[in-house]
């Protein structure tokens, strides 16, 4: 009898150990192909019950700098995890100078390493934690999420950044994952102006490559969002991009690349998608190199097609891009017109640092939530 009771007590004990986790009803976290400092896991809000959650891998690599892999988002504790990225990276930074030469490829032409990062770059006081000596993780308030008179909600975000040591330049590569499911990608350029020609204007063109996988890697499509107006009437169109190729961004048309999956809908049955929206600072450049003649490119997945300068070759001949495993590319621009603030000659040497100049984009969920969790 005593033995029977013991047998009965043990499972109850095991059951109790299991219960608190099972009872929560949270979907289990996805297995990740990384560990240690490379595995980033962040729930929002920072305090209180979870509303949304990011889980991803980061790689601090020579050449491309900070790369994001396997970025998962959970829009509510009971919702399935959604993989947004297989891989997201800055493919290259192309830098032509006004006189026609030099024309640098700051990522593909050198295995630049990342700069060290310490407490001065990444202070704990602003939510910073240095990771692996070259990456800063900041978890912080991001300002207003919404406001309605006296009712208000501030938002929060996870920011990962590292800097590539590109000779006289440092390129700050930054990825932001917000509590509302938005992702921001930015590149900042800061430097001692180019020795020999410190006053020559030039353009830094970071080109991002993002392998977006919604609900797994097959069955994705990219639509080209466009706003047009005739007389007083406006209309939005969103035709699917049928084949690999480039697209141009017109600020008056609010163009976006809208990535969807054939199987992904929200609770209202609406097709969910992520919108790639440019956030330029001043403008977007064109240069004689053909890959710089467009702002967006859509390609189908090939894991070794990683370099922006080859884009015209990657899409020739164009393959079907609808209902496929797709990769989207976006080129931003930083027009650097040197100014006295950048520095000055002191004898034979140039003394001074150009302050950080930024360009980037937003990936914004559309009909992913049934309603934003930030205003329940």
């Amino acid at each position: 009898m005593r033995r029977t009771n013991l047998l009965a007590v043990l499972p109850i004990l095991f059951g109790f150990l299991a219960l608190p986790r099972l009872a929560s009803g949270q979907t289990p976290p996805p297995w990740m192909p990384c560990s240690g400092v490379h595995l980033i896991d962040q729930k929002f809000p920072l305090v209180g019950p979870e509303e949304t959650h990011w889980r991803l891998c980061m790689e601090a690599a020579p050449r491309n700098g900070l790369i994001i892999h396997w970025a998962f988002f959970r829009k509510s504790p009971n919702a399935p995890w959604l993989r947004l990225f297989w891989d997201a990276r800055v493919s290259d930074i192309f830098v032509p100078y006004h006189s026609g030469s030099p024309r640098y490829y700051d990522m593909s032409n050198f295995s630049f390493s990342m700069t060290p990062i310490g407490s001065a770059d990444c202070p704990a006081a602003v939510g910073g934690t240095p990771l692996g000596g070259t990456v800063c993780k900041e978890v912080r308030d991001r300002g207003l999420a919404w406001k309605d008179d006296a009712n208000v909600r501030r938002g929060q975000e996870l920011v990962l950044w590292g800097a590539l040591d590109a000779a006289n330049y440092n390129y700050v590569i930054e990825w932001t994952f917000r509590d509302d499911g938005v992702v921001l990608g930015r590149v900042g350029a800061t430097a001692v102006n180019l020795p020999g020609v410190p006053y020559e204007t030039h353009v830094h063109n970071p080109i991002w490559r993002m392998d977006i996988d919604l609900n797994g890697f097959p069955s994705d499509s990219v639509s080209f969002g466009t706003h047009t107006e005739t007389g007083p009437t406006g209309v939005d169109t969103d035709p699917v991009i049928a084949q690999e190729g480039p697209r141009d961004w017109d600020p008056h048309a609010f163009n976006s690349l809208d990535v969807s999956d054939a199987t992904l809908v929200n609770g209202h049955g609406h097709k969910s998608y992520y919108q790639l929206i440019p956030l330029p600072t001043g403008g977007l450049s064109r240069h004689q190199e053909s890959f710089t003649q467009h702002d967006f490119w859509v390609t189908t997945y090939n894991g070794t097609e990683l370099w922006a300068a080859q884009l015209p070759n990657y899409v020739n001949p164009p393959q079907n891009a609808a209902n496929a495993d797709i990769v989207v590319w976006y080129k931003g621009s930083i027009h650097h017109h040197p100014r006295d603030e950048d520095g000055e000659y002191v004898g034979h040497y140039w003394h001074g640092e150009a302050l950080v100049m930024w360009t980037g984009f937003m990936l914004k969920p559309h009909d992913l939530f049934d309603r934003t969790p930030l205003n329940p």
């Binding site: 009898m1 029977t4 560990s35 995890w81 030099p102 006053y199």
Partner: protein
Amino acid sequence: MSGQTLGLNRLAGVLLLVSGFAASLAVAQSPPIDQQKQSPSKRDAKKQVLPLDPLTADDRGLADKIAREDPRVRELLGDRPQLVSIALLFLKPEHEESAAPTKPVAIDRHAEVLFRREDEVGVRAVVNLSKRTVVSAERVTSMELPLTPEDISQAAKLALADVELRSALGDELKSYAAAAEAPDARTKQFAITGLRLFSKGEDDPCTKHRCVQLMFRRGRDYLSDTTVWVDLTERHVYVERGKNETH
């Protein structure tokens, strides 16, 4: 208590035990969020290499060896190829059972190995480290090959032998000569860094050759009235002095 009751009790106990273990195992297979992040030494000792774990020196050696032993790569490489870089590649498997797997997924580890031939043409091999095979091998243009720290060091040594540059550097020549031995050592007072130069002009040697623009850094400042670039293919140094340009 009858024998039948005792038997039922035992059966119930066993069932409960099994269900309890099953529940515990279910939890174990869905580890709490931070569990994968932590690295208790006992678990690490048995832990398998993950697909995105950084390449080790052994991985790099293996990738280089597998590439060089592959007949397709050997045919492309020719004599005396130089290893340029080895980088981790995170390639997708052919199929995916779950978009959000909760159990480990078999994803082969890959590396991209780049070589430079004597004629400046590049060769790219994609190596499957898990299966120890070469997935693909192809020629790439010189433009697709990154410079290496050795390239900068070689260019710096060539440049520092140039009379014009020695004159421009004056008393600081010795400090830069030491820096040439360890390019990109950012923490040092004197450092030599460089960027690859390309030209589109037909008569310009840097249209086809491997050219480097060198930069000479003292503290936080860069030598700016002298431009130095080196054609590594022809081992030729070009120095332009007195370029104190203004706004």
